[in-house]
């Protein structure tokens, strides 16, 4: 029997909760001494503020177009998820240019679903091992991550620094790449080290530290220019692969200090200012636009489901 699809009547926003940052965990082990000993921790200001370094920012967006119920007439009813996701890059040199935008549409479902054609395009099937909504969402996140890596792979040669929005996650193998984390769910530092973060002036960073959970990263904090409402205003955390030696990491940290502050957004233009950098915000908007009009896509899904 051919695959039957029923579209969930709930708005997908209410549907399957996602955890966009599966990468952050609390059970961490910190090594603050890799650049300077903890006792000497003090804010580090960059040498030369702006830089005309060629940067690439990479980001991805995902949207659940519809939740669905799949019935193959044999097994039980399965929950599936239609999702659109996209990843792209912005190259920043003299101008900020959008580059390498990739759009995908997928049907995520347990087992082996079939491709699903609509007026808005064909949803490629992605089989998921688990049966719950969380598994579907995680599968989508994994696909998005893979797409971002694909995009990054196509631009890596052109850039002195590749900035990935969010934790490095599985992208630590990309060269000259840093993860850019806007939110702080986990306090990695404490005591004097945390006080150093609070003492950062705009465009200053902390020394490097290394943390280990199920993975290992080198990381540092950086304060972006902007209004100082509280001690953590404008603080972002940046991480780099732990496979790099300390000098390479320091030079990435230096470069991040000299380049990123210039892209900090202003509060009246971005609700997540200054951490949500202009190029990433612009890229995100463009990616969301290219995902297509959600109501049109939902309509075409319903039409195709019959």
């Amino acid at each position: 029997m051919p695959q039957k699809v029923a579209i969930e009547s709930w708005d997908p926003e209410y549907g399957v909760p996602s955890s966009e940052s599966p990468a952050e965990e609390t059970d961490v082990e910190i090594d603050p001494d890799i650049e300077v000993p903890l006792a000497q921790w003090t804010p580090i200001s960059s040498q030369g503020l702006e830089s005309d370094a060629k940067l690439v920012f990479i980001d991805g967006v995902r949207r659940i177009d519809a939740n669905a119920w799949l019935d193959d007439g044999v097994g039980p009813l399965r929950q599936g998820m239609f999702a659109s996701f996209a990843a792209g890059a912005v190259e920043v040199g003299d101008r900020a240019n959008l580059d390498h935008i990739e759009i995908r549409r997928g049907l995520f479902a347990p087992g082996s679903p079939e491709a699903f054609s609509t007026r808005a395009g064909t949803y490629r099937p992605f089989g998921v091992a688990g049966r719950g909504a969380n598994e579907l969402s995680a599968a989508l996140q994994e696909r998005l991550g893979a797409l971002e890596i694909e995009v990054a792979g196509s631009v890596e040669n052109q850039a002195q620094l590749i900035v990935v929005d969010g934790p490095l996650y599985r992208r630590q193998h990309l060269p000259r790449t840093i993860g850019y984390i806007k939110t702080h769910r986990v306090h990695y530092l404490s005591g004097d080290a945390e006080a150093t973060v609070a003492a950062l002036a705009p465009r200053e960073r902390t020394p490097l530290f290394r943390f280990r959970t199920s993975w290992t990263r080198n990381s540092w904090y950086l304060r972006l220019p902007g209004p100082m409402a509280h001690a953590w205003s404008g603080i972002v955390r940046i991480e780099a692969s732990a496979d790099l030696d300390v000098e390479e990491c320091v030079s990435l940290a230096e470069l991040s200090c000299r380049t990123l502050p210039r892209f900090a957004s202003a509060p009246h233009k971005d609700p997540r200012a200054p951490q949500n950098l202009y190029p990433i915000a612009g890229l995100e908007r463009e990616l969301r636009r290219r995902l297509g009009d959600p109501s049109y896509i939902e309509r075409s899904l319903r039409a195709a489901a019959g």
């Binding site: 040199g93 900020a96 233009k269």
Partner: protein
């Protein structure tokens, strides 16, 4: 419509309608205002509708920017954004006439060659009158059938004095009429009468323009015209005041100008007195009845004398002042008054007439006289193809008199001849002075008559004025070709310019000299046209020494 002329695609973020739609332009493409475009829209059963249009607006914007200040971020290379360009097109033609909108995504082409002719209806114009050029020097045409009386007639030109180049454009139209072969064999007999109202600009129409450049010549070539001066022109100017020999009152040109005036005999016999009064036809004025009685009386009583004077009741009169005095005497004498003024006319009415009559004497004394020998030499003859009558030195009252009398004479002649062809073109600026919206006067009656019947009589009015809103509605509305030069912003908003779409109204306030907006009946959208620099001199400094225009001698010579 081949791929090399592809400029963009119909966009879908704004409504596309059969009247107007937006075209997103390709990356390396541009369209400018007034460009002509074409596209093809498929219909079911394999039919195609060709849609033609004119670009009326072009816009460029950042896509991806949300705030005005984002432009700085974008230029600093911080925020990614794209520049998008789009052009608004107003449709001119559907072939076949199925009024469907173009569909978003359809390719749009710049129209060239036959497509352009189709878009602008030039293909259906059996007689195309070169009317100017586009900005990229493509010729624009007007349909002669809407000018020569076949389907319509008359031209009306509006625009601010000095900037709108109304008269120059009118002269260009005449040049084009005479020079292009659009009139065919008739061209040689077609005549024009033009009044010189400002400076002595039109007194050099027979001289080629020494400042004409090679580029200007090339533009004439594009229009199929040979640059040069007018071949056959006669110039008439009023006589100098208080000059018994009546030499023409012009400063910049000595030769080839003849002075004009009317003899007292003509004045009486041809009943020209009403033209002395601005409101002679106004029913609200009591004294107008006196005018008509006096006119009758003069026609009956005046005996012509050899040099244009008249004898009335044995009294010899050789100047206008004496005539006015005689009329006043007759009106104020209780014995003759009933005969001259009419019955039951009050003294107040008579006085009103006399007051006005004497008011005019000073301004008309040199134009109505009987003291020059061979006065027929000073009668505006219209032997040449183009007759220039200079009135710029005259007082308003005298201007009205001269224009009124010459127009009536031309009109009467045409009416008597009873033939529509050859055509007579009359160019008259400052229409608001001669045919104001309010009130009534003999000259206004003639102009209205001309605009209503001129089409069948073969007399075509090329009228101009600063503000169409101040001119008699019937004259403007009877004009098939409406042309607008630079307009005052307040004027551009008036109803009289309803034929201009909003964009064109806006543009009319920034038009440069030499650029006009031309509206003709067949085209739903007016064309913005530039006319080439005059090939004839428009001031003494431009006049080249000779009158060479590359053509043979005056074909009118010796026909007199």
């Amino acid at each position: 419509m081949d791929e090399t002329h592809l400029v963009g695609r119909v966009l879908g973020t704004d409504d596309a309608t059969p009247l107007s739609f937006w075209v997103a332009l390709g990356a390396q493409q541009y369209l400018q205002l007034d460009d002509v475009v074409a596209l093809e829209r498929p219909l079911p059963q394999g039919r195609q509708v060709r849609i033609y249009g004119l670009v009326t607006q072009v816009r460029a914007r950042h896509e991806g920017a949300r705030f005005d200040s984002d432009v700085f971020l974008i230029e600093d290379g911080i925020l990614p954004a794209e520049v998008s360009q789009a052009a608004q097109v107003m449709a001119t033609r559907f072939e076949p006439e199925i009024f469907v909108p173009p569909l978003p995504g359809q390719p749009v082409y710049k129209a060239v060659g036959t497509d352009r002719d189709m878009a602008l209806f030039f293909d259906g114009m059996a007689k195309r009158l070169p009317a100017g050029l586009t900005r990229d020097d493509e010729p624009l045409y007007a349909n002669l059938e809407f000018l020569d009386g076949t389907r319509g007639a008359h031209v009306n030109i509006s625009g601010i004095s000095g900037v709108a180049t109304k008269t120059t454009y009118a002269t260009f139209l005449l040049f084009s009429l005479f020079q292009s072969d659009v009139l065919g064999g008739e061209a040689i007999n077609t005549k024009a009468l033009i009044y010189n109202v400002k400076g002595e600009d039109l007194l050099f129409l027979d001289r080629t323009n020494a400042e004409l450049t090679e580029e200007d010549r090339a533009r004439y070539d594009r229009l199929g015209l040979t640059p040069g001066a007018f071949d056959s022109v006669e110039f008439w100017a009023p006589p100098r005041r208080d000059d018994p020999s009546a030499t023409p009152d012009v400063a910049t040109r000595q030769k080839g100008v003849t002075s004009y005036f009317w003899t007292l005999a003509e004045f009486c016999q041809e009943r020209l007195l009403p033209f002395v009064f601005a409101d002679a036809e106004d029913d609200r004025q009591q004294y107008t009845i006196v005018i008509h009685n006096v006119v009758d009386r003069l026609a009956r009583e005046a005996q012509p004398l050899p040099d244009g004077g008249v004898a009335i009741d044995g009294q010899t009169i050789t100047d206008f002042e004496a005539l006015a005095q005689l009329i006043a005497d007759r009106l104020q004498d209780d014995l003759t008054m009933p005969d001259w003024a009419g019955r039951a006319i009050g003294q107040g009415t008579v006085n009103a007439f006399v007051r006005r009559l004497f008011g005019a004497v000073r301004h008309l004394r040199h134009l109505i006289r009987g003291d020059v020998s061979n006065p027929e030499r000073h009668r505006v003859q219209r032997q040449a193809q183009l007759t220039v009558v200079d009135i710029h030195n005259l007082n308003d009252r005298a201007k009205r008199f001269v224009v009124g009398v010459t127009l009536r004479r031309a009109f009467d002649e045409k009416e008597r001849a009873g033939l529509q062809r050859p055509l007579l073109f009359v160019v008259l600026d400052e229409l608001n002075k001669y045919a104001p919206r309010e009130g009534s006067s003999p000259i206004k009656e003639i102009l209205v008559d001309m605009s209503e019947r001129g089409r069948s009589l073969g007399i075509i009015l090329i009228g101009a004025q600063q503000t169409a809103s101040e001119v008699e509605r019937r004259i403007v509305s009877n004009s098939s070709l409406r042309i607008v030069g630079r307009l005052d912003a307040a004027e551009a908003g008036r109803d009289e310019y309803g034929f201009l779409p909003a964009v064109h109204r806006q543009r009319s306030t920034i038009l440069k000299p030499g650029t006009m907006i031309l509206s003709q009946p067949e085209l739903p959208i007016p064309l913005v046209t530039q006319f080439p620099f005059p090939a004839w001199a428009t001031r003494p400094s431009e006049a080249s020494a000779s009158t060479t225009s590359g053509k043979s001698d005056d074909p009118f010579k010796g026909l007199g």
